[in-house]
Symmetry: C2
């Protein structure tokens, strides 16, 4: 184990009807005038936004709506949100939605008190030291942004999708009502499952030795997800399976499963390029990328993949472990090739050059990946 | 899964030499005048207290020493500490030690801003709403108090050992340097291992259904501890095994392994009576109590014990699971009978009446225990 600092100050408020506490929590943590961020049609159509707004009014919290935040969120909406917060003199931000809404809310929160361009933080030109407080009402179990200090934003100019991680952006509270996820389309549910597993595996596949405890926690979480996934795919209204998966999505990414070790994140970087170039859903992209990355790294570093196979899927070899992961992904309706992802003629040289333009000549830690290796990994997705 | 609120705001600062950051962290979180709590001889003799005090001075933090806090800490020292804090106008408390020192520091922290008797909170006569900030430099991996809002104090008058749990008492930061535990005597190390396993098992043995994720995390943590324990017993200076165990002790008790479920805590209650009457070490007491409690409840509720056996020890029946736990405890040098604990002629009727005087007619949730059942369980320890 390496030395580490770890703090998750987010107050998780979990269970049925917890969105009715949005007003009380916002009043306590976000101040009396908030930007209310949400995504598309469903938050309104489902009645969720109404319930949240009623709760805010009852608690005496004023709000300004900021809706229509799209998947793979872009910098233009962040600038717009920063302007709106400043104009309205907002004291905090409440995100009602999934990862895209939360990540946008966080980026706005970091941008408002900063005199420069918010993108400086994402570009590594400045270090964020303060942000407006953010609260969350989560509607999709996937991105883990409700428990993390991460925010992934795409800069429209150049199409770069960049992730920032800072404790300053950890939400003050996150309301997690699993029932809100019961109406998600099956494809989106499956994308979320792949994403949360990837968040664990990016941490699990590490060369840092002597992390027995965290390894066991990662394996336990993965095993639980693998067992629960078929239940929600078979019965989308299985509240208890939804509840376990929603909490798994938070635990997967709030940092507890990565303490004291080098993490990897190559697969996420490779997927971000697929999303940026072809507009695919992040989870579906990861379903294709992660097994291909494992195929490649298994040549050099197979022990941990064997351990993963043994403890999560009950198989013996690294090849069987990767096959089991692909079988699992396919069983929940996810693609495992670029063609199945709808990318029939991928421009691999462009993907590779975009990837290394963004991330530098070597990516990841488990088996550092240069452009030649990246090209091989993308080809393994064909 | 039941609804839950969960928040662990403690900043964990983990690894080698981290006690050198005590000053920086105290200045940021505890204010500029602190009560410095510690236990017996070893904190001074080891040089740890010197290093902490040097770090405090360098950060401009004044301190008042408050030492000689004993195991199974008592209310008299809490009153004394409260008076001292008020007299010195302290802004915070730093605990350098294990569970007893931390629990005393927390009780003082809760008592200082309260106009009544601090024991009101432990007696359930008042609800704590504020406390002075507490920081920790941990020296023993066991009690988990460094990550919890719990504090166990014994009232000398009547000998009652009572536990309070409130988020108000969660430490602001906890410095965890595993190297500090390398010099612990083997017996104390083993007591710590039993205690942290018990903290997990008190949460794990629950009738709340549909907690697959948390079950898997509990089992993973237990399995890791079972695998790591022989390493530190064989080589007390195995830093990496110490590191995993220290972090396990924190994770075991900071609440993450109990979310969304009813917990039990019968074994702790039964052990507290043994400690109070016979002055035994808490972990050694738990080593005797927990398997006996499992023997008793297995008659009524064996499925979860079988699952525990299968997933932690790789055995099939509940009887084999309990036998495996006893074998493990004995292998690390812990007692498994009252006689081995040095209690050759236990006053079981008195233990039972003290227990139910403190806890009421029914104890625990997994298999609620009345006085007749408690007597049977104590007899299973003979």
């Amino acid at each position: 184990m390496n030395n580490f600092d770890f703090c998750t100050p987010t107050n998780y408020v979990f269970g049925r009807d917890t969105e009715l506490r949005a007003g009380e929590l916002a009043a306590a943590c976000l101040g009396n005038k908030i930007l209310l961020c949400f995504g598309g049609h469903s938050a309104k159509a489902s009645g969720l936004l109404d319930r949240v707004e009623t709760s805010l009014r009852a608690a005496g919290v004023e709000f300004v709506e900021f809706g229509d935040i799209k998947p793979n969120p872009t910098d233009d909406r962040v600038y717009e949100g920063i302007d709106l917060c400043r104009r309205e003199n907002a004291s905090g931000i409440l995100a009602v939605g999934g990862g895209s809404v939360i990540d946008t809310a966080k980026a706005i929160a970091g941008g408002v008190p900063y005199s420069g361009d918010f993108w400086d933080f994402w570009a590594g030109k400045a270090v964020m030291t303060e942000a407006m407080p953010v609260g969350v009402v989560l509607t999709i179990a996937a991105a883990g942004s409700e428990g993390s200090g991460n925010s992934v934003i795409t800069k429209i100019d150049g199409g770069k999708k960049v992730s920032l991680r800072t404790n300053v952006l950890r939400p003050r509270f996150s309301i997690l009502n699993p029932a809100l996820t019961e109406t998600l389309p099956a494809y989106q549910t499956a994308c979320g499952i792949v994403d949360m597993m990837a968040h664990i595996m990016e941490r699990y596949f590490s060369n840092t030795r002597d992390c027995e405890l965290t390894d066991r926690l990662c394996e336990g979480a993965l095993k639980a997800i693998v067992d629960l996934a078929p239940r929600v795919m078979a019965d989308p209204a299985d509240y208890q399976a939804r509840a376990n998966l929603m909490w798994a999505g938070t635990v997967a990414h709030n940092g507890i499963l990565g303490v004291g070790r080098e993490e990897d994140w190559t697969s996420h970087a490779m997927e971000h390029e697929l999303s940026a170039l072809y507009g695919v859903a992040h989870g579906a992209g990861l379903s294709v990328v992660f097994p291909a990355w494992l195929d490649y790294v298994a040549q050099f570093n197979s022990d941990k993949i064997e351990q993963f196979g043994r403890r999560v899927f009950g198989v013996e070899s690294s090849a069987e472990a990767i096959a089991a992961l692909r079988t699992f992904n396919r069983a929940i309706g996810m693609p495992i090739t670029l063609a199945e992802l709808g990318i029939t003629d991928p421009d691999i040289p462009l993907l590779v050059s975009n990837l290394h333009d963004t991330k530098g000549p070597l990516i990841g830690n488990f088996c550092p990946t240069d452009p030649s290796a990246s090209e091989k990994i993308y080809r393994l997705m064909l």
